[in-house]
């Protein structure tokens, strides 16, 4: 079938490009501290895991990332809710939010390491700081984007503001919040790694840094591979949660129903979440 043919093609292409990489490096005699052949990267990967070195540092980086993600997302969600629901909070906080948003948060990493030391705390704070904004912005937008007609309907039923929040605004904000979490997860990993670059005793970022000093390029390549797999897994975890939470959103059903007729509205639905995501990135 078409699907199996595509899988086979993908594998063939992958093997060919790895082979080409290996061939070019060996054929042109490129020194391995510039570009190591894939075979060397594979050996570095194997050694790293066999000695337990990678797992130990990876565990530490993951701990920083997840703690930072949880702390940053929670703070972002609650402050976003406060800003969206209370005009005084909005009036006093919004200027600072706008100011901080245009600042590349990772530029604060050196300061944070100076303030909070080389240990876990500075990494968690840096990760949380980067994860905070996507949640803040998306929660704000999500809570404020409740459809006017739906609000009118709730009001006509004599619903209290409290009821309108819990029964309408919060569920309405969920797609935005989930899009924010999606971004925040990867952002938290970036925040942790950058803080490790600046100064750390453990973690994948620190390991990359020390390999760089030793010109161990194949080791660095192997860690990049590890990081991208970790990022992918974290992303998938959020995707699983989203499918659970947003069972009612037709755009979540696309995995089950892939007929082309249904693909169009699905894409439109995705567009909303994507826009929210874009907003969070800026």
């Amino acid at each position: 079938m078409r699907n199996t043919r595509n899988v086979v093609l993908t594998i063939v292409l992958f093997v060919l490009s790895i082979g080409a990489w290996e061939g070019v490096v060996r054929g042109f005699d490129i020194p391995s501290f510039i570009l190591p052949p894939p075979s060397q990267v594979g050996v570095a990967l194997y050694r790293g895991f066999a000695s337990g070195l990678y797992m130990q540092h990876l565990g530490y980086t993951l701990l920083e990332t997840l703690l930072g993600f949880v702390v940053g997302s929670l703070l972002g969600f609650f402050l976003g809710t406060a800003v969206a629901m209370n005009r005084y909070v909005e009036f006093f906080f919004y200027p600072y939010i706008v100011m901080f948003q245009s600042l590349p948060k990772v530029a604060l990493a050196p300061l944070i390491v100076v303030w909070f030391g080389l240990g876990l705390t500075s990494k968690v704070i840096n990760a949380a700081l980067v994860a905070f904004f996507p949640l803040l912005v998306n929660t704000m937008v999500g809570l404020k984007s409740a459809d006017e007609d739906r609000v009118s309907l709730m009001r006509s039923l004599a619903a209290s503001d409290h009821q309108i929040f819990w029964m309408l605004r919060l569920p309405n904000a969920l797609p935005f919040v989930m899009a924010g979490l999606d971004v925040a997860m990867i952002f938290a990993l970036i925040g942790a790694i950058v803080a490790e670059f600046v100064g750390a005793q453990r973690g994948i970022g620190m390991l990359i840094q020390s390999m760089n000093f030793n010109m161990d390029v194949s080791g660095q390549f192997s860690l990049l591979l590890v990081l991208s797999v970790v990022g992918l897994i974290l992303n998938r975890c959020i995707g699983l949660i989203r499918r659970r939470v947003m069972f009612w959103d037709p755009s979540e059903k696309q995995v089950l129903e892939t007929s082309p007729e249904e693909a169009a509205p699905v894409a439109a639905g995705r567009g909303v979440a994507a826009t929210a995501k874009e907003g969070a990135r800026s």
């Binding site: 459809d147 739906r150 009118s152 309907l153 006509s156 004599a158 029964m167 309408l168 009612w248 037709p250």
Partner: protein, 259 residues
């Protein structure tokens, strides 16, 4: 019409908005009454204050002057004895069909178990038996609007307000929904205020048709439609029906056409 049977009494109702170019009068000294269990259609071009009128009756907009009463009591805020149907179904996608229908029950903290039975019966009445566990996006536009009508009826309101409920549907579905609405109304006999900008729809459904002028919205005529019920779609071919439609259309033409 005796005072006792008046469901809605509107007297000298006005609403004006302050805009940058000064005051805009959306509704100007409008008075009318609707009897208990009467089906009244309001027809007028866009900008004639139909929706303003509906929002005031729903209690979500305050009048500038005049008063509106429902069963003798002044409408001063949102009330729990009103059911509303908007132009779009306004369903909550995270709720099943039945949960959407029961929204007024949840908001008003009424006994859910007892009203679930009422909801299921009403869903059967509008022809949605077996759809109670589905989600809104699994339903067609016409079916979604039926859910909205069921939701407006579930807490047994004194009055049903409908704001161009079939305006977003295609012509075929719309005619079908008109027949359905008449059938539901004949069975439940609520007092209905039905807003539309389709003259034939107003004449087809209404016991009376209130004709409104554009800017400022004012009552121009009150047409009694004495066609026998239940009305079938063939009624539209009768001379009497045609005369009513022509009469209302002429009223608008005198005023400079429908905007």
């Amino acid at each position: 019409m005796s005072v006792l049977t008046e469901a809605i009494a509107v007297r000298n109702l006005s609403k004006s908005y302050a805009t940058r170019d000064g005051h805009v009068t959306a509704l100007d000294r409008t008075s009318f009454a609707i009897a208990e269990r009467e089906f009244v259609a309001v027809v007028g071009p866009s900008g004639c204050g139909k929706s303003t009128l509906l929002k005031i009756l729903a209690g979500i907009l305050a009048a500038s002057s005049g008063e509106a009463r429902l069963r003798g009591t002044l409408i001063a805020g949102p009330r729990r004895d009103i059911g509303i149907v908007f132009q779009s179904p306004v369903l909550f996608p995270w709720r099943t069909v039945l949960d959407n229908v029961l929204l007024p029950i949840d908001v008003q903290r009424l006994d859910r178990a007892r009203h679930e039975q009422v909801g299921l019966e009403l869903l059967a009445l509008v022809g949605l038996h077996g759809f109670e566990r589905r989600y809104p996006w699994e339903l067609s536009g016409g079916m979604q609007q039926r859910v909205a009508i069921t939701r407006a009826l579930v807490h047994d309101p004194a009055m049903l307000l409908m704001d161009e409920p079939f305006g977003a549907l295609d012509a075929m579905t719309r005619e079908h929904m008109n027949l359905e609405l008449q059938r539901i109304w004949l069975e439940r006999r609520k007092t209905v205020l039905f807003i539309t900008h389709s003259i034939p729809e107003a004449v087809f459904l209404g016991d009376r048709v209130l004709v409104m002028t554009p800017r400022p919205g004012r009552l121009m005529d009150d047409v009694r439609v004495a066609l026998p019920r239940p009305r079938s779609l063939e009624v539209m071919n009768t001379p009497e029906f045609g005369a009513h439609v022509r009469h209302i259309r002429e009223l608008f033409n005198v005023r400079g056409g429908i905007g």
